[in-house]
């Protein structure tokens, strides 16, 4: 099966639940297990939240772009922003690293994404934006 969708959402935290639900609903055609669906939902939530919280520190009307591709059993989720970029990616992916400790951000977002997805690529350019590409092979499950 090959399928694809793309959506543009305003960078507001109230849009995260809707977007992660859209992504997981779109993946149901791959017949994932409940565990795989939870992994996809959590990873999507982490990537979208990261973009909303970190990409646009000065506020304003900003957007996040989400693209989901299904090619055979391979799922690709791309979350992209046009924000400030990540200065040091190797530091950002370290467990418990956060630039917002005062807001009780745990710094575990990338750790969870890495645990739940097969492959994660982060492409970031200062003042141009960040693109997170997450891939997962959905081995068909008999779970319901």
């Amino acid at each position: 099966m090959n399928n694809q969708f793309r959506m543009k959402i305003k960078a507001l935290t109230e849009n995260v639940a809707f977007t992660r639900s859209c992504i997981s609903a779109f993946c149901v055609g791959l017949n994932p297990s409940l565990e795989q669906l939870d992994e996809i939902k959590t990873s999507s939530s982490e990537a979208i939240t990261n973009a909303i919280v970190h990409a646009y520190p000065t506020g304003g009307d900003n957007f996040i772009y989400v693209e989901v591709r299904i090619e055979d059993t391979n799922l690709t989720i791309i979350v992209e922003d046009e924000g400030v970029g990540i200065e040091d990616i190797s530091q950002a992916i370290q467990p418990f690293f956060t630039t917002k400790a005062e807001e009780e951000h745990s710094g575990m977002g990338f750790t969870l994404i890495n645990s739940f997805m097969d492959k994660v690529d982060i492409i970031s350019t200062k003042d141009k934006g960040t693109k997170i590409v997450m891939q997962k092979n959905i081995v068909e499950s008999t779970n319901v």
């Binding site: 935290t13 639940a17 565990e35 959590t42 939240t49 745990s106 575990m108």
Partner: protein, 102 residues
């Protein structure tokens, strides 16, 4: 996201009901902190039996409440997380500081 605070002898139980993410975090934090500030009991339990989703935002909230509860000398427990939330809590090492009781 709803939170119900239940008072039992020497124990407060916070029942988390719904999806805990960055958006719901603000009200969750406020409600938990209000309950913790007024608490005069020894034990505080996070009942997660009705928590249907939690991302790393929940880890931050738990760590923040852990500090507050410990400062008051209270014992903290987590009860009934779903298998997936249990995995998130294990990955973050939460069970090294907060015990799971069910």
């Amino acid at each position: 996201m709803k939170i119900e605070i239940m008072h039992q002898p020497n124990m407060l139980i916070a029942c988390l009901d719904g999806e805990l993410d960055e958006y719901s975090a603000v009200s969750v934090r406020e409600k938990l902190d209000r309950a913790i500030d007024l608490a005069v009991v020894q034990n505080f339990i996070f009942d997660m039996s009705r928590l249907t989703f939690m991302d790393s935002t929940g880890i931050g909230i738990l760590l923040g409440r852990y500090k507050k509860l410990k400062a008051k000398g209270m014992c903290i427990y987590i009860a009934h997380p779903s298998p997936h939330i249990d995995r998130i809590l294990k990955t973050a090492g939460i069970y090294t500081i907060i015990n799971k009781i069910a």
